[in-house]
Structure formats: C-alpha cells, structure tokens
Amino acid sequence: MISYRLFGSAIGLCLLAAASTAPVFGEATQQGKECFESRDGRSQVVQREIAPGTPNVKCSPTTSGVLWWGDPFDGTIPMGDMAVEADYTHEEAVVKPREPQIDKNKLLTICAVACHNGEYVPVPENKNPRPLKMHKDIVPDSMELKHGKGAIWCLDCHHPDNRTKLVDNFNNEVSFNQPQNLCGKCHGQVLRRWREGIHGKRIGMWNKGGKKRWWVCTECHNPHDIQQGDRTSGFAQLHPEPAPNLPKTMANADHERVKHGPGH
C-alpha cells in the first residue's frame, strides 16, 4: 500500500524532521490528569477510574485533548432540567451544565459578588463600549471586540448588574448553562439546526430511545475570540495530534509539499 508512493525528493528536507518522531501513545490511566473536551481552558475534564482499569476519558499525551470516552454521560444532568425547546421525545437527552466549568476559579460566585454587586464597580449607565480595566485575559482589547462585526459589546450579552447571568435582547436573564437561548437570538438558523441535531455535537447513543449528551454553543465556540489570529473557521486553533508514522522506506514527506503544476 503505502510503499507504492513516490519517495520524497530532497527539496525542503528540514520541514518534516519533526514529523517523523513517533507519537508517544501511552498512559492509559493517569488518575487526576486534566484534559479538555473541545476548548482548552474552558471544557476541562479530570481523568479518573469509573471501573477497574477503565478511565472516564483517555487524554492525548501530546495535546491533552480528550481522545476516548469511557463514560460520555459523566457529570451530566437531564435535559428536562434545562427546558430546551427541541424534539427529544424519542431519546433521553442530557447535558453538562456549563456553570461549573466557567466558574472553575469561582470567578462568577466570588467576583460577581465582590466586584459586580455595585459596591466596587458602579452599575454602568449605558451599554456604550469603553476600555476595560479588568478581564483582559478574556478580551485583550475591549474596543476591538469583533463579535457582531463591532456592533455588540460586553453588556449586550452579560447582564449589567447580575454578573452571574447572561442577558438576551429583551433583558431576560439567561443562564450560563443555556447559552443557546442567547446565541440563538442572532444565530437563529444555527439554533434551529442545533435543535434538529445536525449542527453541533452529540455523544452517547445513536439509536432511538438511547441516551444522548447534547453539547451547548460555548462548549465548542468562544464568543470572545471570533477574530483570533488568522483562523478561518468558528473554532479556536489548536495543536493537532501527531501525524502517522512515515512508511519505513520514506525519509520524509516532501513529495506531499510539492505543488504539482507548471515549472515543476
């Protein structure tokens, strides 16, 4: 099979030196190791044993992404508790609440009270953008927040005086657990597809009556970094898993990098 392939020419030899180092594929169970589901830093899971010799997840040793699910329903609650308008009559739908993830460092519960209860920071008089003094880790330059092509700003999504909640455009409080109720106000088509199950991610069982874990918007998308780097999709860039080993007879994969066209 692979040995039929054209062996690499010597052009650009250095490029692939790193590629040929083999991935370390190991450490099936490392209790307590933390890895991430979709977004590093915002969808973490801690590895633990759910049955003798079986971890809840396996983590990639190179990128720390979740590589395998032992229990896809770990930490989930019934969808009924979240009241999503969607047809899940022929399945048992569950969802993982977002608040514990977002509130990992108790930023919501402590800071929202200590800083955003009106004592340290006055409730803003209007929604107009102004430079942020805090939260620059989340939005490095608040005047450059490109979400909505510059049309929206923090307080269009975050509740102005209840910082443990989001807010929709009718001033209704929206839980961090159910970001779709906010995102869907603008991204209605996407919300519809998500409810139908063809946008976004579901894990667990495919069959009728089976149990499915639904993923909500912010598990995959970060609403703050829409313009991050030179990326071209709705997802933050991340480091890929290692390439497969090169065939034994091939020193590098330069042949793949040659543009086949005129002058070649």
Partner: protein, 343 residues
C-alpha cells in the same frame, strides 16, 4: 461444546496460515521452528497461546450459533490471560432494521486528527514505531490549487479544461492529492481544508468482491467486516479499495496490555495477528449496542454524524435531506455509505 481434547498444545505461537503452509511436512520440529521464526524479540501478544481449536475453526459466517459461542468463549479466555484483564469478545449480529450511514461536515473539520487517535485507542490498533496502524487518515488539501494559468502545463490541455491521460507529476498510488503527514503548529490553517477518510462501508465493496477466501463480507447493517482468522494476508482487498481504507499487519501488532480496550467484538476490535488485513468497522462493538463510534464522540467540533439510514429521524437522514452532500469516487459505483456534507 467440548473441544477440550484439542487444548493441550495451547501455548504454541504459530498462525493458522503458517500452519497450513507447513501442513505437508508437519512435525513437532517444524512447528517449533515456525514458532521461533514468528516470535519477535518483544513478546508476541496476539499470537501466543493460540489453541488448536482456533486453527481449525470454520469461517465465522459458516459457524453454527454453538460454534460461534465456542469461538467467542475461547477468545475471551485467551485474551483475558494475555492482557491480564477481563476481556469480552462480543458476537452481536447486525440489528434488525438498521443500515448504518455516516456523514462528515467537511466545512467544520479542523484537521486535529483526534478522530484518528481515538480510533486507535478504541479499536486496539498496533501502535509504536515498529508497526503503527491508523484506520482514519486526515488529508490536508490546499485551497485554490487549480488556476486558469495552471491548465496548459498541468494536464489540462486545450481550451476545454478537461484532463486527459492523467498527470505524470502526481505520485502513483495516492488516491487524492493532499497531505497525510502535515505537521501544523495550529489547526485549522488559513489556506487549507481537511478531509478525513476511512472505510466507506460500500454497498458494493470491491474488497469483498476480490477476497479469494471470502473472509471479508458485508453484514446486513451495511458494515463490511473481516474474520481475521480466515484472512490469508494476500492483500487483494488493499489493492481493490479505492479509498485506501484497509491496513495490513506487516509485523507483530504491538498493543500494550494497559492500553488494550477490553470491550471487543469478534469482527471488530479484537486483537489482530501478524499478516492479516484490517479496517474501520464503524466500531461494531459499540454501534451494535447503540453507542456512537469513538470518532463521533471525540471530534471536538461535532463534524461527524452517524445514524440509521432507514430511520427518517436520524441525524444522517436529516443531513441528507437538508445539506449539500457528496460521496467520494461516486463514478466507481461502490455506493459508499459515508457522505461528506457542507452547510
């Protein structure tokens, strides 16, 4: 049920193929010679303790229910000993009223290769430097590779823009032009898109057609499976597959006991031996129990959908109804049940 009388020589390390090849001049000496030849410096996990009953068992499809159960029990016992944990070997047949279909959103895929590695973890592929097998390949394709200026000299003669006679600059044996071995610091890259490929579970699978011993076949739920015990390693199927979906165990598979997934299926992810072909089975060990495949569950962007093509409520059916869909090499009339789609 009793094959006890066949069991006394259980510890020999020899594959069925070698046994048959040497059957004419069979003696204890030649047998141990074969065992010596086959044993690697490192422990040969998948072929140790192969019992006589295993060498003489029928093609899985021809076994009676009783014989199947014997074979499964035998394997469970052997693997549990070899890997030092309780291994189950399932023989679940296809579910009634189910035809599996797969849909992959090519616009969403970010090329992270997590699907490929999840597959290795789930399906007990050989890993490491010596013998590495991955059923899923993620192909990186460059955006805008064809331009009007390229036409004249790149195999696109005349004013018609029609390629004739192939292109001498393309390496032979590569199904699609693209990069398998890309090493990006960050994905998705700006000028690339990604196309994961794996077994398409064709309706008319060329691999099944060419297999001389009929050890690979299509089950009623549409999954093309292999009875590894009957595979003679001729690699006809590998040559026949237009999607480059089959892999061959050139060496002794290396599957560390602590990483071995003990939930296995006879036709799926049970440990393989040297000299057999293998491929994606849509994780039969999971999907025939209602669970999604490892690649669906692990894809961080939800690009992958799997479901029952016979159920109008299923994800795949909804995709087929509402999205722009294409199949690879539709011209070959293999009728893949793996669909690529766009938003």
């Amino acid at each position: 049920m009793s094959k006890e009388d066949n069991k006394e020589n259980g510890a020999q390390s020899v594959s069925r193929r070698d046994f048959l090849r040497k059957a004419g001049t069979y003696s204890a000496a030649s047998l141990s010679g074969a065992a010596m030849l086959l044993s690697n410096p490192k422990p040969a996990q998948a072929t140790t303790n192969v019992e006589w009953a295993e060498h003489f068992q029928k093609n899985y499809r021809l076994m009676t229910e009783e014989e199947k159960q014997e074979a499964l029990d035998r394997l469970e016992k052997r693997y549990s000993e070899e890997f030092g944990k309780e291994v189950t070997v399932d023989g679940s047949p296809a579910m009634d009223g189910v035809l599996f279909g797969y849909a992959l959103n090519i616009q969403k895929c970010i090329g992270c290769r997590r699907c490929a590695k999840a597959c290795v973890a789930e399906n007990n592929q050989s890993r490491g430097d010596e013998q590495q097998i991955e059923w899923i390949r993620v192909l990186r394709l460059e955006k805008g590779q064809f331009s009007a200026d390229d036409r004249d000299n790149a195999g696109y003669p005349g004013d018609y823009g029609i390629q004739v006679g192939g292109n001498a600059y393309k390496p032979a044996g590569v199904v699609l032009e693209g990069q398998h071995y890309y090493e990006a610091e960050q994905v998705p890259e700006k000028d690339a898109f990604y196309m994961p490929m794996q077994c398409m579970q064709c309706e008319k699978p060329p691999c099944v057609k060419v297999c001389p011993v009929q050890t690979t076949y299509r089950d009623p739920d549409g999954i093309v499976v292999i009875d590894y015990n009957w595979c003679i390693g001729c690699r006809m199927c590998i040559g026949a597959c237009p999607y480059w979906a089959r892999r061959f165990n050139w060496g002794e598979p290396s599957l560390p006991a602590e990483e071995m997934n003990p939930v296995t299926h006879y036709l799926g992810n049970r440990p393989r031996m040297k000299g057999v072909a293998e491929k994606c089975t849509f994780c039969v060990q999971r999907t025939r129990k209602g669970r999604w495949t490892a690649c669906v569950e692990v894809c961080p962007v939800g690009a992958r959908k799997l479901g029952n093509l016979l159920d109008p409520e299923s994800d795949v059916r909804k995709v087929l109804e509402t999205k722009k869909v294409f199949r690879l090499r539709a011209d070959l009339n293999t009728y893949p049940k793996f669909f690529y789609f766009m938003d």
